[in-house]
């Protein structure tokens, strides 16, 4: 997994509550058997005016000029500013893959859907929960200031504004450790192989009915 320590960059404000994973990456792109290449289809149904297809040449497609992502001032954004319940809906990890592939490294919102939130950490993408009032303030500042940038400092657990003001955020300490060091979950879990095997032996003896698929 890619490491995350500190990221500074342009902020894209996506002013919409309940952005679901179909919005983030529509279903036709889920047919891919790869983890990469989803960036050009991030927010596809809002970013383009026509219907996107896998393997199509996206550079030839008509852009929706009204969609915030297509405004030149937000080009190259790597911090996404979002609203409540971001990432609701399906469990598709293609959603964080698409955000990551486009170049986003952190997402700031008042709340996230559980499965999406969890999937972000598996991909070196940092979801940060901030109070609604703080998010409201950031939307106002980003929209008023061209080239507005934020710095996300995971080690210090703060988001730094251009004026130096620091917005503290909470993060699960184990996840923080994994992100800072780019640790692989599976490798970590397999360090506990003996404990898993011991649990399994006891569990099989106690509940043999859960081990019947091979019968």
């Amino acid at each position: 997994m890619q490491k995350f320590s500190s990221e500074k960059g342009v902020v894209l404000p996506l002013n919409r509550a309940n952005v679901d994973t179909d919005f983030i990456i529509p279903k036709q792109f889920l047919k891919s058997i790869k983890r990469t290449g989803f960036g050009p289809n991030l927010f596809d149904e809002h970013r383009y005016l026509d219907k996107g297809e896998p393997d199509a040449d996206n550079s030839a497609r008509p852009l929706n000029k009204d969609f915030v992502m297509n405004q030149p001032r937000y080009a190259g954004a790597n911090v996404l500013l979002a609203r409540e319940n971001f990432g609701c809906g399906s469990s598709r990890e293609h959603a964080p893959w698409a955000l990551d592939d486009y170049g986003f490294r952190a997402i700031l919102a008042p709340s996230f859907a559980d499965i999406f939130f969890n999937n972000c950490f598996k991909n070196g993408l940092l979801p940060i929960v901030l109070d609604k009032a703080v998010i409201d303030g950031l939307f106002a500042e980003v929209e008023a200031t061209e080239g507005y940038q934020l710095e996300v400092d995971l080690d210090a657990q703060v988001v730094r504004k251009p004026n130096g003001e620091e917005l503290p955020f909470e993060v699960d300490q184990f996840r923080k450790h994994c992100l800072l060091n780019g640790l692989d979950d599976i490798g970590l879990t397999l360090e506990d192989s003996a404990a898993i095997a011991a649990f399994e032996t006891t569990w099989r003896a106690k509940s043999p009915w859960y081990f019947t698929l091979s019968n």
Partner: protein
Amino acid sequence: MSGKTLYDKIWDAHLVTQREDGTALIYIDRHLIHEVTSPQAFEGLRIAGRKPWRADANFATPDHNIPTTSAERRAGIDGILDPISKIQVTTLDDNCNEFGILEMNMDDIRQGIVHVVGPEQGATLPGMTIVCGDSHTSTHGALGALAHGIGTSEVEHVLATQCLMAKKAKNMLVRVDGELQTGVTAKDIVLAIIGKIGTAGGTGYTIEFGGDAIMALSIEGRMTVCNMAIEAGARAGLIAVDQSTIDYIEGRPFAPKGEIWDGAVEAWLTLRSDDDATFDKVVELRAAEIEPQVTWGTSPEMVVSVNGTIPDPALEQDASRRESIMQSLKYMGLQGGSAIKDIKLDTIFIGSCTNSRIEDLRAAAKVVEGKKVASTIELAMVVPGSGLVKKQAEDEGLDKIFIEAGLEWREPGCSMCLAMNADQLGDGKHCASTSNRNFEGRQGFGGRTHLVSPAMAAAAAIHGHFVDVRDI
């Protein structure tokens, strides 16, 4: 010390290790696999040179990309006309062969939507931990299991370690007491719950559904309720085990037999929350007050009674909710303040992991029997949840009832619930759908979804618009 909730009991029984900050390793009894969220996980195993920890804990069936017309299905895998879909289905077959995982492939009569097939085969059992790379895994909680969706990285993690790294969620109890009115179903209950608590109301919780109206539901009805726990924001929804649960499981192909069965039943009947268990949050609904529900917007919480009207954004005080209503109405092509019954429908979809089981099909067939689909409906389709549901329906003559009424009778799969196969809702078309999500573009680019129960979808097919199924 207070007692334990059902969720506490299953969690505690599966705890392998726990770190100081509460991050735990939870043992997973069953891992269900489909073709969309697994290829990258199997590829990850191959790259790292890993093998499944316990191959026989897994079982797979393709569902999302599977064609549903008989002509396509007769050709087997070659009937999948989209080459990218075909590769995904073939990849699942290849991965299951390579790693020794049981698969019910598209030519197997047992194939179907993974959340229909699991319980149907007895692969879903009470007290199990069950995961799948699909958010509607919450369905299996209807049998008293702890079941939820995971992402592809976690699919790989479960394959490699038989465990999930997780933190315990909070406990929520949603109680529905009293008696449902005739014509009001499990789907209406869960839509009413989502309407009450919102799509983020259950975020961070495991929801236990209880109360006498829930326990009076059939197991299939309970599956419909748990299926949509995720639409209320909760990864997992579950329901206590009772005699109906035991009766449902007994005799299914992968259910335990003989002495092991007897031991299992004894253990399973303890799978309910203790009387003195405490919940972090309790929500109560009265069953008698629930009316047939219809969604009007682009989030499942945008739901009202069939006799209701679409909200007028001008009357909404909260600015962000007003903005959401306006965005939804624009996408849906609807006016605030207009009646639900005045929405003109183009398409009817009866199917999905929410409502494609035999009881759903019986309820829909009962409504359309001897009638004809309205001439204004361009497409009305019934997609059974599995090959075995299809066979059962045909044995009962339901297929003939649907066909004579003018509905198409299809082969099993996810179909137009998310439209990864050829079954796509047209741009700008309104669909009465028994599925679970009404997000923008969900059923097809520009498609407009209204979530309803099977009986309500069937009644809408006959009338061309929504009608109160209690009136017919």
